[in-house]
Every structure is written in C-alpha cells, then in structure tokens.
Subunit: 355 residues, 2 copies
C-alpha cells in the first residue's frame, strides 16, 4: 500500500510525504518540525544559510521534535565571480534599484555560502537525511555521510541524471518534473530538452534505477499523491503547498500570490538567480525577460539581485520579490502543517478507495 | 471504479481509453477499428484528409467494427496565404530540397482541406464521437452535431481554455498536458505560459468544469492511466503508444524513432507546421531552430514542408520526417492494438490493487 513503502520504513516516517527543502527562509524550524511531528519528513532548505545559521536551525528543529528530518543544500558549480555583466542588464537592475530607493551598483561581498562549511555542520549535527540539488555530490562527502548512516537523496530532472545519481551512491532520488516550483535541479548539459513533465518522468526513471524514487512537480493534494504512487514513486515531495502553511517563513505577499495564482501565471525565469526557476510571474521577470540571454549565470545573478529582493521584501513590493511556485499553485490553501499533512493523508486514502 | 466512469457509459465503451486522433496517416481504419473492437475508443485523425478520404475511412472503419469510434479535426484559424516567407527560411528549406533532389520553391496548391466539407461528412456519416483541437467549434456546427446526438469533445491546454470550451457546449474535454506528442492544442492567446504538465493541469481543470475530463500527455501504460484517474480524469487519451501498433500507419522510421526515443530526445518545434508540436528531435528541427521566430505560422509552414515530408517518407530519410511523439515515448512497445488495450487494462488493474 502507498503509505507503507520501503522508503517510508527506511526513513522511519509514518507517511511518505516530504516537504521540499525550499531555500530562502521559507522552511523555518517551526515548519520543518511541524511536518516531521505530523508524520511526514520536514526538510530545512539551507542552501542560502551560513554554517552557524544551519546549526541554529537544526537545533531549533530538534527542540520541537525527535522525529527524523532532512537538510537540503545546493551543489556548488564553477563560476566566474568577475564576469562582466551586460550593460543592458545593469541598466534595468539599476532602474529597479532607483524605484526601491537603494544604492546603485552595489558591491557583492560573497556569491554563495561556502559549501564545505555547510556540509561540516550537516555531519557534525548528524542530520538523519541529507538531500541536494544542482549536481552530484563529491565522493568524499558521500563516504562521510554514509559512514554516519545519513540517508542521501539527489535530484534528477532526466533519466540520465537519475542514472548518474544512482551510480554515485545516493540512497534514493527525487524525480523533479517540469511542473515543480523553484529552481530546476538540472545539471547534465547537452540535452535538447530537460523540461519533462512529472507524468512522463517518474515512470521512465522508475524503470531505469533500482533505488526508491520520490516524485515532485505539480503535486498539491491527495489526487497528486495517489497519482505519483500509481506512477511507481515510493514517496512524494511537495513544496508549493507548504509555502502557505502558518509555519512557513514565506513573505506574506508570496503566500498571497500563491493563493491567487492560476495555472498560466506561474512561469520559468532566470531573472532572479541566473538559473531557471519557476515562480509567479511579476514585473521584475517581465523587465528582464527580453535580456534572458544576457543575464549572468547562477550564482552571480542571484547575488546581484540580493539587495533588490531584500528591499522589496522590506518595502512590501511583490513586483520585485522572487515568488517561487509550481504549476498547480492554485490548489494551495492556508492552514497549519499538521492540518495539511492530515488532509493529504485523508485525501490520498479517499482517492485510493475511489480507484 | 476507474473503468466504470460516467464517461465510459456515455460513450458506450468498455474501457475509458481513447486512441488520439493523430493526423497524417497514422490512424488507419484498421487501427481505429481494432481499438474500438478491443473496447476502447478509436479515433480517426482526419485533419489532413479531404471529404472523400474521410468518408472512405469512416466506411472502412464500419466494415471492421460496429463499436463506437471518433473523428478528429483541426478548427481552422485565419491566416495569410500570401504572407512573405523570410528569405532565411526559404534558403534553408531549399537546401533541404536539394538534398532530397526535389524542385525548389514549389507552388502550394492548397493550405488546408476545407473544414466545411470535412464537417459535412462527419454529419452525413453520423459518427458517434467528434473531437477537435486548435480552437472552439462554431455554434452552428455544435447545434447540428447535438441534434444528431454526436458526443462532442474539445481540447484544452489551460484552465481558461477548459472553461471556454465548457461554455461553448462540448460534452467533455481533453486536458492536454505539456508532455503530449504532436501539436499543442492551445488556442487562447495572452497567457504567459501554456506548457502545463498533466499532473498540474488535470486536477485544476477538474475543479473548474462540470463536464468529464479526459487526461492526455505522457500516459503510456497502466501506471499513467491509474495516475490520470487518481487526478480526477474520467478517461485517458493516448497517442504515442498507438503509433507503434501493427495497425498504425506511421512510417516505419517514425515507429523506430519512437521505440528508440529517450525522455530528452523528444522536443517542441515549430519547424514542420508553424505551430508548436512535440516530436523526436531530428536534423530538420535543428536546421530551423535558429529561425524559429521567422517561420510562417500554421498552416502556411505546414503546407510549405509538405513536399519535403513526402519526399523524406518516400526516400526513407528520417532526418526530414515529422516524427511526433510524447515525452514518455521510450515506454512504447511494438504490438497489435488488441494486445495493447488488453495490456493497458491489466496493468491499470494491477496498479489499482497495488495502491
């Protein structure tokens, strides 16, 4: 039966429902702990946090639950910190800064938090589950995690990526369909297409790997959960539906935008970070859309928009916020994480009986 | 239970499995009849056929089965038959014609078969089910079809399109997810995004309309069928999986390309018809990819590539064939339509019991 998957037993969770490790402050310790306490797997989206912040968050989670939880990080990729930003891009970004009344052409102190320091905390704090996206984990880290008995989860957007991750030794993997909100986890180049829908991606990956597959992308309720299990997944990962939880740290304007989204208003953009990500369409995305090809790549553009996103957040201006969301955002509801998990479980049972 | 849906009863079919009305010779009377005879709903993809060809095909179907079947047409859209084709596009197309050793700059006798004449046959022959894509059906035709008791099915790629189709009086509608092979059915403009995955599209449409919804896009086996029913669909429509049936009229190179496809090799292109469609990536698509924005719109580009596709077919050159396929094409198998329907039903039952 769906709730009784090998994966659920291995993770010691009651329901094979994973709350995605969304970066950027959404996954508060309160949200992570509430999800795990309710029988799912909460995940701290720690990619933009420094070592001390990660440690503090992990400890805050543990104060609120003794259930298993995960930590998610971004695999670093080589980048040119000194790349020249196209004048057209700088001009538009400075126009936005003028609108927000913040300094033009700010210095960028750092582009990413050091991955080694983030990983050191994951190991020191002995987190039960470690998940990652944007690439493959170095074998040295993989070995250390395995020695500690940490369950390691990678993210694939194609069959090739899934096979590569399995070969690298991950214990399970998330199949991220094109419907998913936030950043695309794609990391293998030279493919004509990597925007593969969940319905097509999950069974093709399930057929090619021997490790458990977690379905992600467009899943918002019991219908999506039952569908993912029908496709052969052993668990589901949901992000958008947790954004509007009481415990979520998402900006109130972000929560409102998700609750008011339509299927057509949620689009892919590189405007905020230089990496393709899906979110509610807004003015900033539209401003940079014509310059899509001139944008610096991740993490440079991400660092360059940091001041804009921070000011927009403070000034309550949704037109300049990154409001990540998946293609089924319109199905989101406002509730507590505990209520949400219970509803998801009840709905999935109803669908199961209806089939 | 899934097989016992209101839709199945209304269409008088044993299994709510619809074979998509793929245009271009794939849906031979033999394929359509075999699918219907096996308890599904076969559909004649008649969009590129003239009135007499449609009549002959319908009669051939009826000689092979007394079960219900459908006919699918494209809704005509206004176009400029005299639009000037960009010199860059003509040059590349003529280079292809040289490769194929066929006349350069051929005259185009007609752009589409007259819709009125096609519809007249649908009415005269009293087909049980009429489905359409690329737009809305004029109320005059809708009224005539309803008077004859024909079940009318429209195609939606967004919630807005689904609502518009329901208001127009269709009996049921197909929700075409972004995974689907062949032409996108999108017809309402001014949307930031209409590439919505099946997993996200189906439940959002089901929640907004009161007519039965048929799920399409990325469905290739019992896992996909059970998933679609979990999402709230009352039937599924599959195209790609029928392409490789013995009875399918698809070119043998097209069949082989589908059987050898991967999740990443199936991409969206406007190269063949001027309208976005998904197929196995090949040389012709790559040649025209840099000119995507300069291509004439449908049906002009479709008419302009007719000689190329015909010559490629005759000369067995897959690099210039349009080989439509969905994102889960790699799950296709070679078999008869009867074997396929039986396998789909058995697999769906297995998935149902597993959940």
């Amino acid at each position: 039966m769906w709730s009784n998957s090998e994966l659920a037993k291995r993770l010691h969770i009651q329901w094979p429902i994973i709350q995605a490790g969304m970066a950027g402050g959404t996954t508060t310790p309160e949200l992570v702990a509430a999800v795990s306490q309710a029988g799912g797997l909460g995940t701290l989206g720690a990619a933009y946090m420094n070592a001390e912040q990660i440690r503090a968050a992990i400890r805050a989670i543990r104060e609120q639950t003794d259930k298993p939880f995960g930590v998610n990080l971004f695999i670093p990729e080589p980048f040119d910190a000194h790349q020249k930003v196209a004048e057209s891009v700088s001009r538009v970004m400075n126009e936005v800064r003028s609108q927000l009344d913040i300094p033009l052409d700010p210095d960028v102190a750092s582009f990413t938090e050091p991955f080694e320091k983030q990983m050191a905390i994951v190991l020191e704090e002995r987190v039960p589950v470690f998940s990652f996206t944007f690439g493959m984990l170095d074998q040295a880290w993989m070995k250390k995690l395995k020695e500690q008995g940490v369950t390691v989860i990678g993210t694939a957007t194609t069959v090739r990526e899934a096979v590569a991750l399995e070969e690298s030794g991950v214990d399970m993997l998330t199949a991220q369909g094109s419907e998913a909100g936030g950043h695309r986890g794609s990391f293998l180049p030279d493919a004509p297409s990597n925007m593969i829908g969940t319905m097509a991606l999950v069974p093709q990956i399930v057929d090619r790997v021997n490790i458990p597959v977690i379905a992600a992308g467009g899943i918002m309720d019991g219908r999506g959960i039952a569908a993912a299990f029908a496709l052969g997944a052993q668990a589901v990962q949901l992000g958008t539906v947790f954004l509007t939880c009481t415990e979520s740290g998402a900006h109130s304007l972000h929560k409102r935008a998700v609750l008011e989204a339509s299927d057509e208003s949620v689009v892919i953009t590189r405007a905020f970070s230089g990496k393709a990500a899906r979110g509610v369409s807004n003015h900033f995305m539209k401003l940079l859309a014509p310059l899509e090809k001139e944008l610096p790549s991740y993490p440079v553009q991400n660092a360059l928009t940091r001041d804009i996103r921070a000011a927009a957040s403070k000034q309550q201006k949704s037109e300049y916020l990154s409001m990540w969301a998946g293609q089924a955002a319109s199905l989101a509801k406002a509730c507590t994480a505990k209520e949400l998990i219970q509803r998801l479980v009840d709905e999935t049972e109803q669908v199961r009986r209806r089939l």
